[in-house]
Amino acid sequence: MTALLEVRNLYASVGDKPILKGINLSLNAGEVHAIMGPNGSGKSTMSYVLAGRDGYEITGGDVLINGDSVLELSPDERARAGMFLAFQYPVELPGVGGMSFLRAAVNARRLEAGENEVDQLAFVKMVRAKAGELGISDDMLKRAVNVGFSGGEKKRYEILQMALLEPSIGILDETDSGLDVDALKIVSDGVNMLRAPERTMLVITHYQRLLNHIVPDHVHILADGKIRKSGGKELALEVEESGYAGIDDAA
């Protein structure tokens, strides 16, 4: 069976500095994978490289969606091919109205799929409904994208976008950090609702508690640019108890 997302011996550097040093991952449809790892180990870098961000040199390996290499695709093409990244630090877009931003994103996908643009009124209704489930107020929807949002609000807004765009691959970079207990529950419920047989998710986190809510099928430990160990959800508990020091190289 072809993996939905496959990362094959991926090497990447910034300038002269190697950051990813041979990453291997295979995510099948329907699975949720968690990535844990110390600060600076390369988790965010990996998510950017997967999404095709400029400024990283791929020095080896490949990234495949459904068996096809996407290294030649631009970030927007990868996004339209089904990849979604919930940012660790969502970016503010001053003056850019939330609704028009969301609509532009949804329409870009629909156009690619040969569908018509969304009906404006129906779209607003749908956004409101999904936003409600994630505890996002109408007022927030009216504001400029991420501008003046609290840390937790920004994270919820990322999940709202994922819910609207319905990607086949969702990469969540520390979506739990900065969330209070209630928000964590809301966001996790939102993510769990998006679990589906045709979708895969890669959840980057530092905390086992997120994985109590979003129970992963696989857990990987990334350290110094490489997956050092992979296992089931119990691996996260192990990390919680003994830290990364106790993790040996035997993957």
Partner: protein, 483 residues
């Protein structure tokens, strides 16, 4: 230009003719080439003007001859041969027509190519349109409804004949003939433009709108607009331009004068999209405009909103003279330059009245190899007790081969007056761009979104239907600026 091309293609598809592209077939009778007293007499005679108007023009011409082209702007202006232009071109049939049915169908087709379907607009926008084709107004709509309200909205050439007392009193009262080189030139050879008079206590029942376009090759365009708002009246005026592709540079030197009396308000909005030249800097319009309004009465208000995306060179400073006590001046501007465009634009707020207030919000966007300069003067005169100004100038750079400049002049002769100035310069951040791309939005769309966001404060000042148009225009004008 892509949108214009598209429009032509669409029209061609629908009609299957118009093989001439944008140059319509209408023969025009032109003034003799070049600028001289003879040319001015020709224009004046063509327009059947009274003697006083001719004298006024000749005086302006004499003044112009003694003046030199201003060189203080941050602009590189190629020398202009004023003898190599035509100063008058009119469609052949100039007799007044009762309805659009009587207008030359080819003329109407040209409007359509430009996306100015008069009939459509009448129904849709509740906007009265005084369309200027070349230099003579040929179709005026909604005149009746306006005249019921006592509003005069007509071509200025008509006002010269029908309302000489108003024209004599106000024309040149805000911008004297010798104000500057281009204003003097305009005063000598202006061919047409709009005249608006709002009587005391009247709120103009609709937005007034004019569409200008240049049609004849080598024909300078010298529009002259005069708007007078009597005590307690209100008017909102929209001006929009598009121009067809041309190889030779064309000079456009308009003059706009606004007069607001006690408690009157004039809102003047412009979307300017003259041909900017091609991506190599060839061709394009020179837009040297003098726009000024005077808030003559107490609590009067003048608000300029402009979205400037066109022209090869823009030299333009819509200004307010705040004479009345507690009068208010506003300037909201978006100036976008791409390729080899140059813009030197801003405003002057001259505070005379006590308690007068002004706000300046300027958003400059430079892309390609363009140069974009904000130049603004805030002048607090000794009488401007407790006057206030707030200025915010933001520049956004797209790419690294363009330039953004901010040149604020502040003169304060009254210690109780307060002037606040904020300025920022930024680039479209890679973070913002990547965030949009990651959501599946293509690069050009992403840049357009971010730039429109940057301009939001100004865009929201535009009347609704204009705002939508302006947003699209910004996206179109940025085409080719990324990647």
């Amino acid at each position: 230009m892509a949108a214009t091309t598209q429009t032509i293609e669409q029209v061609q598809e629908v009609t299957g003719k118009y093989k001439y592209g944008f140059v319509t077939d209408i023969e025009s009778d032109k003034a003799p080439k070049g600028l001289s007293e003879e040319t001015i007499r020709f224009i004046s005679a063509k327009k059947e003007e009274p003697e006083w108007m001719l004298e006024w023009r000749l005086k302006a011409y004499a003044r112009w001859l003694t003046m030199t082209s201003p060189d203080w702007a941050k602009l590189d202006i190629p020398p202009i041969d004023y003898q190599d232009s035509y100063y008058y071109a009119a469609p052949k049939s100039t007799e007044k027509l009762a309805s659009l049915d009587e207008v030359d169908p080819e003329l109407l087709a040209t409007y359509e190519k430009l996306g100015i379907p008069l009939n459509e607009q009448k129904r849709l926008a509740n906007v009265a349109v005084d369309a200027v084709f070349d230099s003579v107004s040929v179709a005026t709509t909604f005149r009746e409804e306006l005249s019921k309200a006592g509003v005069i909205f007509c071509p200025i050439s008509e006002a010269i004949r029908d309302h000489p007392e108003l024209v004599k009193k106000y024309m040149g009262s805000v911008i004297p003939v010798g104000d500057n080189y281009f204003a003097a030139l305009n005063s000598a050879v202006f061919t047409d433009g709009s005249f608006v008079y709002i009587p005391k206590g009247v709120r103009c029942p609709m937005e007034l709108s004019t569409y200008f376009r240049i049609n004849e090759q080598n024909t300078g365009q010298f529009e002259r607009t005069l708007i007078i708002a009597e005590d307690e009246s209100y008017v909102s005026y929209l001006e929009g331009c598009t121009a067809p592709q041309r190889d030779e540079n064309q000079l456009h030197a308009a003059v706009v004068e606004l007069v607001a009396m006690r408690d009157a308000e004039i809102k003047y909005s412009t979307v300017q999209n003259w041909y900017p030249g091609d991506e190599n800097g060839k061709g394009g319009i020179y837009n040297f405009v003098t726009k000024r309004g005077v808030c003559r009465g107490a609590r009067s208000k003048i608000s300029w909103t402009q979205v400037e995306t066109g022209s090869a060179i823009t030299w333009k400073y819509p200004s307010c003279v705040l004479q009345g006590e507690d009068s208010v001046g506003e300037f909201y501007s978006v100036a976008l330059t791409n390729n080899y465009q140059q813009a030197d634009t801003g405003t002057k707020m001259i505070h005379i009245g006590s308690g007068s207030r002004s706000t300046i919000i300027s958003k400059g966007i430079s892309a390609g190899k363009s140069q974009n300069c904000y130049r603004g003067l805030v002048h607090m005169q000794p009488t401007a007790e407790n006057a206030r100004n707030f200025t915010q100038c933001d520049s956004l750079l797209v790419g690294d081969r363009c330039g953004a400049h901010t040149v604020p002049y502040i003169v304060s002769r009254n210690p109780s007056a307060k002037v606040e100035h904020e300025a920022t310069t930024s680039r479209i951040s890679e973070d913002q761009l990547f965030y949009c791309l990651q959501r599946g939005i293509e690069e050009e769309g992403a840049v357009s979104l971010i730039v429109n966001g940057f301009c939001k404060e100004v865009m929201k000042e535009l009347p609704m239907e204009f705002a939508v148009e302006a947003q699209k225009l910004i996206g179109i004008s940025l085409e080719g600026s990324v990647g």
